[in-house]
Symmetry: C2
């Protein structure tokens, strides 16, 4: 059974689709909502503000040190909810499979999704499978949409809430995911030890809030890297940020890969890193909470908001040698298909 | 601007992604939820049971008589919610674009999505764009997930609610979508007048319920066609259905295409047709309500539930000449990539 290849008929909605769903998905994503196999799934949510998000995943290669397209698709969508302070509850999964894909490979991806969802406390409750002819995809593409809930009595997080003087923190070293993908693609880096940082960040967010930190804004530093998302946030907030390069954690191996390939870790993608904006006098307490968690051991205060309500939003980097450099959104393509 | 081609950088999360989002998506899907461009969108729902669904769309060709991948992606997901009696409220949109795609073509698809969403009363509130290298997709693939709400005081719809004696209705002729796709692909059918039936069915569902029809189950007859979804429903319900071929509306042109290509309209896909299960004594009233609506002019009672709680669930077709034939789920691939 597991040596089978995916055929067009697996996406045709007939008996083969049904078998694939029952044997492969139902078994791994076991939950009562999905088990009805209804056109749509009925959810229990309770009171609170509802959040909704989606991402498609086209990462290449499908498996890389520290993760795969399945765990990435869970973490990415869970994090998009967490960045608004919403507890992730439910995910959908939409598969686009390439004809000829090994069923075994699909099983590995689905296993990984199921583990990641379990660990993140979310349920995959609805899904869809399509198959396209050989050559019209790259193994498989995956979409996850997600629903989360934020208690009504907690304030809204976002660029509007960023204030002058806010501290800017990050929960760990940057560029790991981008560097892991680059080295996974290149011959000669088989012994490279860089793992993706792909991880679900909700627990960290919850720890900060239950620890009493008054969060203003969160953003995960995915595509565009730390530099890209800070530039975007400054624009959205109408604010000016000052970031100190010496404070930004970068792993030695990542720095090495960047030197070899000519990349700046500031613009390399992360999949388990977020920037945190909170009042300056709460940054010590935030740091302490972050460092207590495995995903925040290397957390650092990397800068501050020097102006809000600015007519010239910008991000300034104070370099290691004390110079100042403006950080802009990357305009081109640094590393394609990192997620 | 509009003669541009989509580049890998449009999916990289940097400035070009931002421009694409602002110029192309925000302008067309204009709504306050999307405009925040947050990681996830905050929704207003009000009380009721929440429903969640997703579908990916890989239809070929992207444009066909009666619709395109954009309108199809809205209708399909709206209908998945409507089949549970849930009012469709919010959609997500995940684009996977092929490098080199004409921006003009993408604009047409997005325009079509926006019109379909407006007409169906849903808002596209969150989205994502990825770009894959030329040759690794077929123009574009699209995923929509949807959220809908059903009032708490209305009963749950589904196979469990199907009862012996229930009438089985359909809202119009079958096989239109499948036949439209087939003829759109074949040379020599340029003058063919078959249009897809792609449409949002929520209004019809709402009309039935506000008209007092006690719905038991609904299912849209998409992949697998009317025959396929009846066989699946019979299995899920543990029920036996008797369907009368002479009652099933089939357009002459669709019958003609089926004869030429050797298809059975019973298994051709529909994108605006649903089967309706309701108490037999309400079928006249249901028919009347359906026929008053443009999407139900040709509605018909096509059969009935002959047994519930059956140990041998099955669908029997009484043919035009009075014979009986068991209807099973199609095992293979009838027409690939119809949605």
């Amino acid at each position: 059974m597991s040596n089978e290849l995916i055929r067009l008929a697996h996406g045709a909605g007939g008996r083969l689709t049904g078998e694939l769903v029952e044997e492969l998905f139902l078994d791994r994503f076991r939950n009562p909502e999905l088990a009805t196999l209804s056109d749509s799934s009925r959810l229990e949510t309770g009171p609170g503000r509802l959040y909704f998000t989606t991402d498609s995943y086209v990462v290449s290669p499908l498996f890389f040190p520290g993760g795969d397209i399945g765990s990435l698709a869970v973490h990415g969508t869970v994090n998009d909810l967490a960045m608004n302070g919403a507890r992730p509850l439910y995910l959908s999964a939409g598969f686009i499979l390439e004809e000829g894909l090994e069923r075994k490979l699909l099983e590995r991806v689905v296993d990984s999704m199921a583990r990641a969802a379990d660990a993140a406390g979310v349920k995959i409750v609805t899904g869809d499978t399509k198959v396209v002819p050989k050559g019209l995809a790259d193994g498989l593409y995956l979409n996850t949409a997600g629903i989360g809930l934020r208690p009504e009595d907690l304030p809204l997080l976002g660029p509007e809430a960023i204030r002058e003087g806010d501290a800017i923190l990050i929960n760990g070293s940057i560029g790991d995911h981008g560097a892991a993908i680059i080295t996974a693609r290149e011959a000669g880096f088989e012994n490279c030890t860089i793992s993706s940082d792909s991880a679900a960040l909700w627990e960290l967010v919850a720890a900060l809030e239950t620890g009493g930190v008054r969060l203003h804004a969160l953003r995960d530093a995915t595509r565009g890297g730390l530099g890209g998302i800070l530039a975007e946030l400054a624009d959205q907030a109408g604010a000016e940020f000052l970031i100190r390069e010496e404070k930004i954690p970068v792993r030695e191996e990542v720095r090495g890969v960047c030197e070899i390939f000519g990349f700046d870790p500031l613009f390399l993608a992360n999949e388990g890193k977020m920037v945190i904006f909170c009042p300056a006098d709460e940054s010590d307490s935030a740091l302490e909470i972050l460092r207590r968690h495995p995903l925040g051991r290397q957390a650092a205060v990397i800068g501050r908001v020097t102006a809000a309500g600015s007519s010239r939003p910008r991000v300034t980097l104070e370099t290691l040698i004390g110079g100042h450099r403006l950080i802009d959104q990357p305009s081109g393509e640094l590393v394609p298909r990192i997620c």
